[in-house]
Amino acid sequence: MAEPSSTAVVGTVLGTTEEPETLRGYYRQMMTIRVFEQRAAEMYTKAKIGGYCHLNLGEEATVVGLMVALRATDYLFTSYREHGYALARGAEPVRIMAELFGRTGGLSGGRGGSMHLFDPQLRLLGGYGIVGGQIPPATGAALALAYRNGPGPDREAVMCLLGDGATNIGAFHECLNLAAVWHLPIVYVIVNNQLGMGTTVEAAAGEPELFRRGCSYRIPGQRVDGNDVLAVRKAARAALDRARGEHQPMLLEAVSYRLRGHSVVDPARYRSDEDNQRARALDPLPAFRAQLIDTGVLDAPAAAGIDAEVEQAIAEAVDAADRSPAPAPETLFDHVYATAVANTYQGLPGDPVVSP
């Protein structure tokens, strides 16, 4: 198992001149993701959510660190494990939960579900259900940016998130190569939670230090402790600065540890008790809370107050999502095509194919 950096978060907190309000904000965002995902798991067991449902539990520090490094003008592509990214990017929890419930108020109108959250205002250009499917489109988005503008500190950039397992697919390597030869403003971020479903990184990757996989393409790589929100933010900002400022594609690896199974239905029997203990020990949320309390940024009552407010907000979001209407069957053929053309067949099962 690859060990995350042993740098203690408390040292990072003490070593910075962060505004306490900023740190409390990060804690609130991380807690929001934690609670949202716990409620999503609960809603899944109540059959309010169908299909696949992958949670960011254990990745909250990585999620928040990456999202606060992005500018509003940057573009984001993610994998299917993306509820937390949508939340931290600014999507209202009710709109994400409504999507999970398959309702019209959802981010994708109920047509995408958990794996396919999309919000053009937030420049969140999709969660993608196919492993690594987002990598080529993200690379092409960066091509569009480079097509329109040269590099500069005020330019837009693309962040493309992918899991450790996706570094083994061909498209990852094809696209790193394209980004290198075309000099694209993109940061590929490997969110390494150390397991691709049940397969360890060591069993799957010839170079298990995944940030080195850009070497063949002369793309600089860096590994960062994904449980350290400030370290993630710092590394992501630096990578984005080079991408936008120099059109130098970058590869960042944030190492954390998934707290639960691959998806909500996975009991993770392939993990040992020792693994689970280690995952709990690395859990970024209690650690960050303790460190903020230790350094006087928070006290226990203030932390409890934030927790209660987050619980309340997510509970209200769940209720509001449940009030959002389901799509009407009459809308089935909406959005199959953006440009209407003649003779698009819109028969339901059993309907005639030709009008008499």
Binding site: F118, D334, Y345
Partner: protein, 330 residues
Amino acid sequence: MTVISYRQALHDTLRAEMLRDEDVLLIGEEIGLFEGSYKITAGLLAEFGPRRVRDTPICEEGFVGAAIGAAMLGLRPVVEIMTINFSLLAIDQIVNHAAKMHSMFGGQARVPLVIRTPGGGGQQLAATHSQNLEVWYAHVPGLKVLAPATPADAKGMLTAAIRDDDPVILLENLALYNTNGEVPDGDHTLDIGTASVLKPGRDLTVVAYSRATVVALDVARRLDEEGISVEVVDLRSLRPLDRDTVCASVRKTSRAVVLEDDWLSYGIGAEIAATIGEGAFDYLDAPVRRVAAAEVPLPYAKPLELAALPDAAALTRVIRDTLDATRFAG
């Protein structure tokens, strides 16, 4: 009207659309310096530069997917895949991504992408380089699949495809590039999703697309001299499919043969035959027949290749059989 080749029509259309719209760019293998495997893009790198005529490494999944992402941000990429056989390397991006995004993201994403790619056998390119896989894409909702047979339609359909906001696959054909025909001057677009009756007739309808349409027209003209009146319906658009035009023709002629370059089972002809069976059953005087490729990986040796591919002789024989089967029908 000007008489030009199918190749020239494609080239001129690409150039005209690039001049008209700065967001149109070309992406593909060997389209720039090499000027394209089939020279459709000849001269365009020199005229427009490497920003707009973008040579790629050999990575179909990567560059097709990148074109999808560029289209999501509002560019209008026209991708050349050297032959349709290589599109299989990009099929995840085409089928799982381009075709899905507008719908799956609730109408919030658009993918105004064109993929141009030639299919077709008969060039002794053997099994991996001679396929007609258009039905794989025509099967998928969210894609539009066009298959022009004439230089005029090549211009009109490519123009329409570039201006359309959905992913469009434009099927070309190696055997058509050097064919000539009259092409309207100036701006010329066609309605995607419409078939065309290229030659009216009374006795039998031949339904075809792409290269097969040219063969069908040739056969129909020769049979005219014998007093056999064949109507030729050129599908032009495989998705959407203009079923009404097909059925209207068969309701008039009462007999139909499909000529197609793809394999017979589950092919375009199967869809057409089922459509006619449902939409013109009471009008039929004979079973609908299909003339399609033999179901083998296409061999290299010329006699075997010729034996496998549908041609004018096979179509003529099946037309005669179909008419003969109904000679007592009154």
